[in-house]
C-alpha cells in the first residue's frame, strides 16, 4: 500500500502530486466535452485552467468533483488512483468546489443551504457561527439568516465560496469567482487564496480573466474545444500569449473614440423607492443623467440596489413618482414597461433565460417580447415578417443558432445574449439600458457586444450600462456612477477615474464636497 499520510507532505522531496488527471475524456452524445485531458496539481499550487465558455473547463471540474463520471481516464489523488463517484466522496477526500452555476435551494436560508450539504453531526447553530467566522476571516459580507431567493447573483456566489471554505479543503476548485467582487475584494480574496495555498491547500482556479491569472497563479493549463492547447507559467507569460493559448488569437481591441454628448435623454431626479421586501435594497435620493451619444456606466458590487434601480427604470417596478424619471423632459415614472418601450426606452436584463427570453419559445417568437413590427390587425402575427426579422438579427449580430425556429434555451449563453442585445439595438432605441452585458459570455462575443454598444452610442443613442465587471465599464463607458447601498455617487469621467478610486466608491466612500467639483469639471 502506498503511503499517503499527511506527515510526509510538505518538506519531503518525493511528495506525490495532490491531483493528477490522466487522459480524461467525457462525451455527451456526439459532443466530446473533454478530450484526452491530462493535468497535474502539486500541493499548495494555485493552478489556473484557462479557456472560453464551452471549452470544457466546467465539465472537467465536475469530473474531479464527482458530479460527472468520465468515459475514460484515470484520476490520482495524492498518488493513489481514485474513483470519485459522487460529490460526497469528493468532499470526503478533501475536494471543495464553488460552481459557476449555483446549487442553492431558493426557499431555504443561506445557513440552512450550507447545513444541508454537510454531514449530520453539526447543528444549524454551529454552522451559522462557523459561516460567520469564515466570512469575517475572508472579508466576505454575508448574512446567514437570509433566504436565498432574496440574494443577487453575486451574493449567491459569496455563499458558495464560504460554503466551500467551511470544509477546510485540501483542493479548492473555484469557477470564475471574481466577476462579482470589487477590485479591493478581489485583492483580498487573492490574499486569502495565497494564504490558503501556503498552508498546503491546492487551488484550481478557472477563469478567462488573463490579468487575474497572471497575478495569482503559478501554473496554467489552457483548454480549447475540450483539448489541452498548452501549459505555461502565467507569471512569465504575457497577456497576449495567454490569449493565443485560449482563443487562438489576441482579443480585439476596442478603439476609443471621444463621445459627442447631445441632448439630455434620460434623467433621474431624487428617486427614492422603499424596498419591496425585507431583503431588497431601498433606493435613496438617486439622481443620474444620460445624454444622447454617450455611454454611462453604473459600477457597484451586486446587491447594492442595481436590480431595484433597473426595475424602476425599465418600468417593471412602476412605483416611482412620474417626474422622478424623465425621458426627454417628460415624466415616465409611472409608465409600464410596455409604454416606456413605445417611448423608446429599451432594456437588456441581467437574466437572459426566463426574463430576457422565454426558454421554451423560438427565437422568432421571442422577438414579440419587445418588438411589435410583425403584428397585423387584431394582433395577428405575420409569421413571414417575424421570421425575416429574426433572421436579420441572427445574421447581423452573428448569432450561432440553427435558425429562427431554434428555442431560446438551445443557444449558448453568449449567443443568446448577442440575440437579445441585437433585438434591442435593432429596435433603434432612443435610450438603451443594459445590465451585465457580457456576463458569462466568451471573449469574442463580449468584444462584439461592447463594440455594438459603442457603435450604437455613435449613432446618437443614450446608453446606460450597469455592470459588476469594472474592466468592462472602463473599456466601454464615457462616464461612471457608482452605486452603493441604494445610493448613487456623483458621476466621474471614466478616463479621469482610477480603479482604486472606483473601488473605494463601491464601499460608499465618495466625498460629497469634491463630488460637486467633479460634476463641474465635466
Amino acid at each position: 500500500m502506498p503511503t499517503s499520510g499527511i506527515g510526509d507532505e510538505g518538506d519531503e522531496p518525493v511528495t506525490p502530486p495532490r491531483l493528477q488527471l490522466e487522459h480524461i475524456t467525457k462525451r455527451y452524445g456526439t459532443l466530446v466535452a473533454v478530450d484526452d485531458v491530462s493535468l497535474t496539481v502539486q500541493p499548495g499550487e494555485i493552478h489556473s485552467v484557462l479557456g472560453e465558455n464551452g471549452a470544457g473547463k466546467s465539465t472537467l471540474m465536475k469530473v474531479i468533483y464527482g458530479a460527472v463520471r468520465p468515459d475514460a481516464g484515470v484520476i490520482r489523488w495524492n498518488g493513489e488512483e481514485v474513483h470519485v463517484r459522487t460529490p460526497h466522496e469528493a468532499r470526503a477526500l478533501g475536494i471543495a468546489m464553488v460552481f459557476q452555476h449555483f446549487s442553492l435551494f431558493d426557499t431555504l436560508t443561506v445557513a440552512e443551504n450550507v447545513w444541508l450539504g454537510l454531514s449530520r453531526d453539526r447543528s444549524l447553530k454551529e454552522v451559522t457561527a462557523g459561516m460567520q467566522r469564515k466570512a469575517e476571516e475572508y472579508g466576505l459580507e454575508l448574512d446567514p439568516k437570509r433566504p436565498v431567493h432574496t440574494l443577487s447573483v453575486g451574493e449567491r456566489q459569496r455563499v458558495e465560496i464560504v460554503r466551500a471554505l467551511l470544509a477546510d479543503p485540501k483542493l479548492l476548485i473555484l469557477d470564475e469567482p471574481t466577476s462579482v467582487l470589487t477590485p479591493q475584494a478581489v485583492d483580498k480574496l487573492f490574499v486569502t487564496l495565497r494564504q490558503l495555498a501556503s498552508t498546503g491547500c491546492s487551488i484550481l482556479y478557472i477563469s478567462h480573466k488573463l490579468d487575474e491569472i497572471r497575478s495569482l497563479c503559478s501554473q496554467c493549463t489552457a483548454l480549447r474545444a475540450g483539448k489541452v492547447t498548452g501549459t505555461c507559467d502565467p507569471m512569465q507569460a504575457t497577456t497576449a500569449s495567454l490569449s493565443r493559448l485560449m482563443i487562438g488569437t489576441e482579443p480585439p481591441k476596442l478603439p476609443h473614440r471621444e463621445p459627442r454628448p447631445g441632448a439630455l435623454a434620460l434623467q433621474v431626479r431624487n428617486l427614492g423607492l422603499p424596498r419591496l421586501d425585507r431583503f431588497g435594497v431601498s433606493l435613496e435620493d438617486v439622481s443620474l443623467d444620460v445624454r444622447e451619444g454617450e455611454i454611462v456606466g453604473i459600477a457597484g458590487v451586486s446587491g447594492n440596489g442595481q436590480q431595484e434601480l433597473l426595475a424602476a427604470l425599465s418600468g417593471e417596478d412602476p412605483r416611482a413618482e412620474a417626474h422622478a424619471i424623465q425621458l426627454f423632459g417628460s415624466g415616465i415614472g409611472r409608465m409600464s414597461a410596455g409604454q416606456r418601450r413605445r417611448h423608446g426606452i429599451h432594456f437588456v436584463p441581467e437574466e437572459r433565460l426566463g426574463r430576457g427570453a422565454v426558454p421554451t419559445l423560438t427565437l422568432a417568437l421571442n422577438l414579440l417580447l419587445t418588438r411589435r413590427e410583425s403584428l397585423r390587425a387584431l394582433g395577428w402575427i405575420d409569421r413571414g415578417a417575424l421570421r425575416k426579422q429574426a433572421v436579420g438579427i441572427i445574421d447581423r449580430f452573428g448569432v450561432k443558432a440553427s435558425g429562427p425556429a431554434a428555442v431560446a434555451k438551445s443557444l449558448s449563453g453568449g449567443n443568446l445574449q448577442k440575440y437579445i442585445v441585437g433585438r434591442e439595438i435593432d429596435a433603434v432605441p432612443r435610450v438603451l439600458i443594459v445590465a451585465q452585458p457580457t456576463w458569462g459570455v466568451d471573449v469574442g462575443a463580449a468584444a462584439q457586444i461592447r463594440g455594438e454598444l459603442v457603435a450604437l452610442r455613435d449613432t446618437g443613442c443614450a446608453v446606460l450600462v450597469v455592470s459588476e465587471e469594472l474592466e468592462e465599464l472602463f473599456e466601454v463607458t464615457d462616464r461612471l456612477y457608482v452605486i452603493s447601498k441604494g445610493r448613487l455617487s456623483p458621476s466621474i469621467r471614466t478616463h479621469a477615474a482610477t480603479r482604486e478610486q472606483i473601488g473605494e466608491w463601491m464601499s460608499g466612500l465618495w466625498p460629497a464636497e469634491t463630488a460637486a467639483g467633479l460634476e463641474e469639471a465635466r
Binding site: 425599465s314 418600468g315 409600464s336 414597461a337 410596455g338 416606456r340 426566463g354 419559445l361 395577428w380 402575427i381
Partner: protein, 357 residues
C-alpha cells in the same frame, strides 16, 4: 441496469410518441385486468376499443360524448399553458348547464315557438355567461385576495353542485314529476339542432370543432395568445415585456369558464332535455386528463377527447355486455394519465443500458 440520462434538447419525437405509448400500456393493463377478473381479455378489449367505433350510431354517440370534453379541455389547455390552474371546470360546466336550463325552462314555460337554429346561439350565450361568471369568481378572489385558484375553483364545484340540487329539488322541480328531482322536459323548440336524423349528435359538435380551430389560431398565431403563454413558463419575462399578469389571469379564466359553461348548456339542451342532478357527470374533471393527454394543444385535445369518450362509452358497454362495473373506465383513465406522466419523463431524459459496476 437502466439509467436515465438528461437529453441536451427535449425530444420532439417522444412528445408525440408518449401519449401513444401510454395508450399501449393502458391497453395491456386493461387486458391483464380483464383476465384477472375472469373475463376474456379479447372480448373485453373489443368492447372498449372496437365497439365504440362500430357503426354510425356508435360513432355519433362518440361525437356526442366528445363535444363537452373538447370544449372544456380547450379552455383548460389555455389556462395550463398560462400557468393558471383551473381544476374546477366541472363547476363552471354545471353553472353553464343551469344557465342553459334556465333559458330552456323559460322558453318552455312561456310556450314560445321559435326555430331551433335561432335558439342555438342563445344557448351558447347563456352557457358562456354562466360559466364565465363562475370562473370570474375564481379570478376575482385570486386577483383581489391572492386566493389560490386551485383550491377556489375546486371548491366552487361543490357549491355549483349544491346549487343545482337546490334548484331541481326546490323551485324548478317538475310539479307533475312524481317528486323526482328534475325539471319539466324542455319544449322541442329548445332542442339543439341535430346533425343526422335519428341520431343524438347535435350542432354543438361542429361548434366544438370550430372552437378548436379558433383556439389553435389564438394560441399560435395571435399576439394575445403568445402573451398569455409567456406568463406561464417565464413570469419574469412577462413582467419585462410589460404583459400584465392580471389580464392573463382574467382572460384565461373567463375564456375557459365560458367554454365549460357552453359545454354544460349543450348537455342539458342536447341529450338530456331537462335538468337533473345527473348533469354532474364528471366531464369537467375528465377534461383535465384530456388536456394533458392532448399535450395542451387544440388538435391534441380533439383527438384525446375522442379517446376518453371511447373509454366512457366502453365503460357503459362493459357493464351491459360483459358484466363489469362501468367504474372500470375511471380506472383506465387513471392508468392512462399515470403512464402518460411516466412516459413524459422520456421527453427530457434518455434511457441508457449500463452494465452495473
Amino acid at each position: 441496469m437502466i439509467e436515465l440520462e438528461a437529453r441536451t434538447t427535449p425530444s420532439v419525437w417522444m412528445g408525440v410518441l408518449s401519449p401513444v405509448v401510454a395508450l399501449a400500456i393502458t391497453v395491456v393493463v386493461a387486458g391483464l385486468l380483464f383476465a384477472a377478473l375472469g373475463k376474456d381479455p379479447v372480448r373485453g378489449l373489443s368492447v372498449f376499443l372496437v365497439e365504440p367505433f362500430h357503426g354510425p350510431r356508435a360513432l355519433t354517440e362518440l361525437g356526442l360524448k366528445a363535444t363537452p370534453l373538447i370544449l372544456i379541455s380547450l379552455g383548460l389547455a389555455l389556462c395550463y399553458r398560462s400557468n393558471i390552474w383551473n381544476i374546477g371546470a366541472e363547476g363552471q360546466y354545471l353553472i353553464g348547464a343551469i344557465a342553459g336550463g334556465w333559458l330552456a325552462l323559460s322558453v318552455t314555460n312561456a310556450g314560445l315557438a321559435m326555430p331551433r337554429w335561432a335558439f342555438f346561439p342563445l344557448v351558447v350565450v347563456a352557457g358562456a355567461v354562466g360559466g364565465a361568471f363562475w370562473a370570474g369568481i375564481v379570478a376575482f378572489l385570486r386577483d383581489r385576495f391572492h386566493a389560490s385558484e386551485i383550491l377556489v375553483s375546486l371548491m366552487l364545484v361543490y357549491v355549483a353542485n349544491l346549487l343545482l340540487s337546490y334548484l331541481v329539488f326546490g323551485p324548478w322541480k317538475d310539479p307533475n314529476g312524481f317528486n323526482f328531482p328534475q325539471t319539466v322536459n324542455f319544449s322541442s323548440a329548445t332542442q339543439l339542432p341535430r346533425l343526422i336524423r335519428g341520431m343524438r349528435l347535435h350542432a354543438g359538435f361542429l361548434l366544438a370543432l370550430a372552437a378548436a380551430a379558433v383556439m389553435w389560431a389564438f394560441m399560435f398565431r395571435m399576439y394575445r395568445g403568445i402573451q398569455l403563454q409567456v406568463g406561464g413558463p417565464a413570469p419574469a419575462a412577462a413582467r419585462y415585456a410589460g404583459f400584465s399578469s392580471r389580464s392573463a389571469l382574467w382572460t384565461t379564466l373567463l375564456l375557459s369558464g365560458a367554454l365549460a359553461g357552453v359545454a354544460g348548456a349543450f348537455e342539458v339542451t342536447g341529450p338530456m332535455g331537462q335538468l337533473t342532478p345527473y348533469v354532474a357527470s364528471g366531464y369537467g374533471f375528465t377534461a383535465i386528463i384530456v388536456a394533458f393527454v392532448g399535450r395542451l394543444h387544440p388538435l391534441g385535445c380533439v383527438l384525446a377527447s375522442v379517446l376518453l369518450s371511447m373509454f366512457l362509452i366502453g365503460g357503459e358497454l362493459a357493464q351491459s355486455r360483459v358484466g363489469l362495473p362501468s367504474a372500470l373506465s375511471g380506472v383506465f383513465q387513471g392508468v392512462l394519465l399515470f403512464s402518460l406522466l411516466a412516459c413524459d419523463t422520456l421527453i427530457l431524459f434518455r434511457p441508457r443500458w449500463r452494465r452495473s459496476t
